[in-house]
Symmetry: C2
């Protein structure tokens, strides 16, 4: 077998094992009985250990060196495979096994401490763990290496090539216009509230209906319930979604559209990339661009609801029989500066991310102490969003990311929002009748374009490279700001 | 780490990985989207391959030799662990890797051929595959080794220590009395039939209710739907059941009791055996004794339904509001010689097994040609059950076992039936008020005794040894025949 064939075989085996690990996590969230948790953690550790040994094997390192020597003669896809596997190999081998094990132990403890701290709304319970996590994250950055700023190394884990400087200039562009727009539009669109609960079975049925309309292929995926919605891949033809259903919330709709966006990306990856490291979305930012595209750009737009609101009314007459379309559309776009990121509207959302970015950068470069976080958090929420943080639970303890040891993850949410708007501009050039397309429910046209331009490529192109191919330009805040200006200007009349 | 600690660690890792493989199969039956099948097969093969390499590693062989040298100083449980791991190691290492791979390929093909053959009711489609399977099964017996008869080696795979001679003498005891009883009781008990379908949700709810009543612990297991009911173990605290729901059948009840019996066995294994090769039912025969105990001995008895029939009537008034308890109990015990094993009543069931045993023995020892099977099948069904086989689909093609490459499995069903009756005799000595116990719904008392006497021991004792411990005697057909005689004599008045 030649080098490339060997590498592909190696890749296929690792991908199979990662999909098996993903199945274990899926089952844990969706079906596993309560008392099985500890045993499952042990099983997961056993298989992860086996996988890790395969991932850092000198045999793989040698194969990569051989493949890299033949780089010039390889196809675009094969060259990308070598690149992606090299990146993963380097990430895995640069971290000493001892370090990985300790980090894993620490994050387990940190998650428990975080849960308790949040329950008691007391940051002091989480603080000593977070201090140790920050020390380890800095150490991680040193192991991984970086050119300009230690935080670069962590950003790169989630968004290949992303730098602190880029994130800073992105937020410089965003901050002032967003703060100004929030001031203009806050409270101008009336929120929706419901006296009657939505029947759970009806919610699930409607979510399923929207997923079918988007083009989610149920022969290659399924929809289940879990405490927190997520999308996961268990195989090339096995991309699964979960959603959740509360009594008086529209989250079932936007959860389905959001996870559906992620899942369409995964389902759209070319068959030729199956069973390889390329059979995956290219980065968290690009992935989020797809979920936000469907959740916000499409799913909070008037044209989409021209088509689907009558069906929503029919499904839930107690809530919507007497609601007008425009009231509904304004309601699902109401701008309300608040404390909680995951409940934020499109205007305020990125200000929540900005706050987390500034804090993470400070922690990693050492200009900010963990102990100062509750105060800094309150100050920044007052400054950027004009809201008063009353408790740690609704403040600095609201996100689980740091307890997971994830620093550098948050900015990918904003990248997703920006990229979604930039991709939407490109789509509008391709389909000038876009409003009619959505109003007629021809979502297949939208999905088809996304699949061809973005999804099918899997991880073949670098994230920033892919965006230039699709939109003709690198990531910019302008399309996003223009999109918000037009949308909210129109909605507010 | 001393030898035993190393062996336990090795055992725990293998058990973790086997539970992961079991999760893959569970998901495949319960949730996996249709088009994911091929990918899942690949994932399964990848992980199986890794597991197999761990299972035949010389390192394990060396550990076992060291542990065996210390045998005298070990506790009963530790000695059993060494024995069970030795047995598994020998089974795994005696079969050449080439052979295993070819056997696995052949059974994949055979299953597809069997499906098609059954659909077209044409044995000729399956025959060439079955011929090759028989050749390989004989080869397998040679690799595994045996003392008296090649079929012994295959029986031993499912029931440690079971021999052809034992199975033969078991059927000699059974055959004449069973044939005689079938003649006496066939058609004497009126069957039940239903004009109205059972609502599916109601069936599932009632099945769940019975499982709770039996003592199935839903914090350590769950109930799902699948095409064929089964029980599986995904962890010490994760024992799962599936059931199926047809419109006009009582299978939902007896499926739940049957699988519930298997699951109670698994859930009852002592915590001290967790994460080891001993954390498992000891053999297929003993396992089946537990499922048959609940399905037949308890679940088709009048006392059980004294307690539960009023609830069944309440759950399904359209079917049962005007049915009397005794009519119901006779109906669920109706004796009807038929063509299909899985639909058979308690009297005819073992005659179906006898036919398969005689055929398997003939195939493996070479006294019977595969090509003769349809004719032999017809002859034996006429002779033992007095029924005419009209088609291969309802005849020689009805079971999937041979397509799986499983020869020697069927006799464990009869062992289960016999052992269930023998265990019931022992229970009655422990609880002379057994009828009142069941009629009052005190199933916890029954479950508690089974757990203490059987379940808790996992695989510590050999199957035949366990039976002697519980019942004071080796496996015998007498308790079963006495149980049938009394039950059907009473029912038929």
């Amino acid at each position: 077998m030649n080098t490339l064939a060997q590498l592909k075989k190696y890749s296929a085996e690792l991908v199979d094992l990662h999909h098996t690990l993903a199945l274990m996590q899926w089952d844990q969230e969706v079906r596993m009985p309560r008392r099985a948790a500890e045993g499952r953690a042990g099983q997961f550790a056993t298989l992860s250990g086996l996988v890790h040994r395969r991932e850092v094997a000198p045999e793989l390192g040698a194969l990569l060196i051989q493949a890299e020597a033949q780089k010039e003669s390889l196809s675009v896809e094969d060259r990308a495979l070598v690149r992606v596997m090299r990146r993963s190999y380097d990430q895995n081998t640069r971290l000493p096994e001892e370090f990985v094990a300790e980090f894993s132990r620490l994050t387990s403890q940190a998650q428990m401490a975080w849960l308790e701290a949040r329950e008691q709304s007391d940051f002091a319970i989480f603080q000593p763990l977070l201090e140790r996590l920050v020390v380890m994250a800095r150490q991680q950055a040193e192991y991984l290496g970086y050119a300009a700023h230690p935080y670069d190394a962590l950003l790169d884990l989630y968004e290949e090539g992303l730098t602190t400087a880029q994130v800073e200039s992105m937020f410089v562009e965003l901050q002032a216009p967003l703060v100004a727009m929030v001031k203009r539009f806050a409270g101008r669109l009336a929120t929706l509230s419901f006296a009657e609960p939505f029947a759970l079975a009806g919610q699930e049925q409607f979510a399923q209906h929207l997923l079918v309309a988007m083009g989610f292929d149920f022969s290659r995926g399924c929809l289940a319930r879990s405490a927190h919605p997520f999308t996961t891949t268990l195989g090339h033809h096995d991309r699964r979604i979960t959603n959740r259903y509360a009594a008086k919330s529209l989250d079932f709709i936007f959860g389905a559209l959001h996870e559906g966006g992620h899942a369409l990306y995964e389902q759209g990856i070319a068959e030729s990339l199956a069973n390889s490291h390329l059979d995956d979305g290219v980065s968290l930012g690009i992935h989020e661009s797809q979920s936000r595209f469907w959740e916000n750009v499409v799913g909070r737009g008037r044209p989409f609801w021209q088509r689907f609101f009558p069906e929503l009314q029919q499904a839930f007459p107690a809530q919507f029989a007497h609601t007008e379309l425009d009231v509904f559309v304004r309601g699902i776009n109401a701008v309300t500066p608040g404390l909680i990121r995951v409940d934020a509207d499109e205007l305020t959302y990125n200000l929540h991310v900005l706050i987390r970015f500034e804090i993470e950068k400070g922690l990693i470069e050492g200009s900010l102490e963990v102990g100062a976080l509750p105060r800094v958090w309150r100050d920044k929420y007052r400054q950027y969003l004009g809201v008063e943080v009353e408790s740690d639970a609704d403040g600095v303890l609201q996100d689980i990311h740091w307890a997971h040891g994830s620093f550098g993850y948050f900015p990918t949410y904003t990248i997703g929002n920006l990229a979604a708007a930039q991709i939407w501009e490109a789509y509008k050039k391709y389909d000038p009748g876009f409003n009619q397309t959505l109003a007629s429910g021809d979502l297949a046209k939208v999905k088809g374009w996304l699949a061809k331009e973005i999804h099918s490529h899997g991880s073949v192109y670098l994230p920033q490279e892919l965006l230039v191919r699709v939109t003709g330009a690198p990531l910019s805040a302008k399309p996003f700001l223009a999109y918000l200006e037009e949308k909210f200007g129109t909605l507010a009349g």
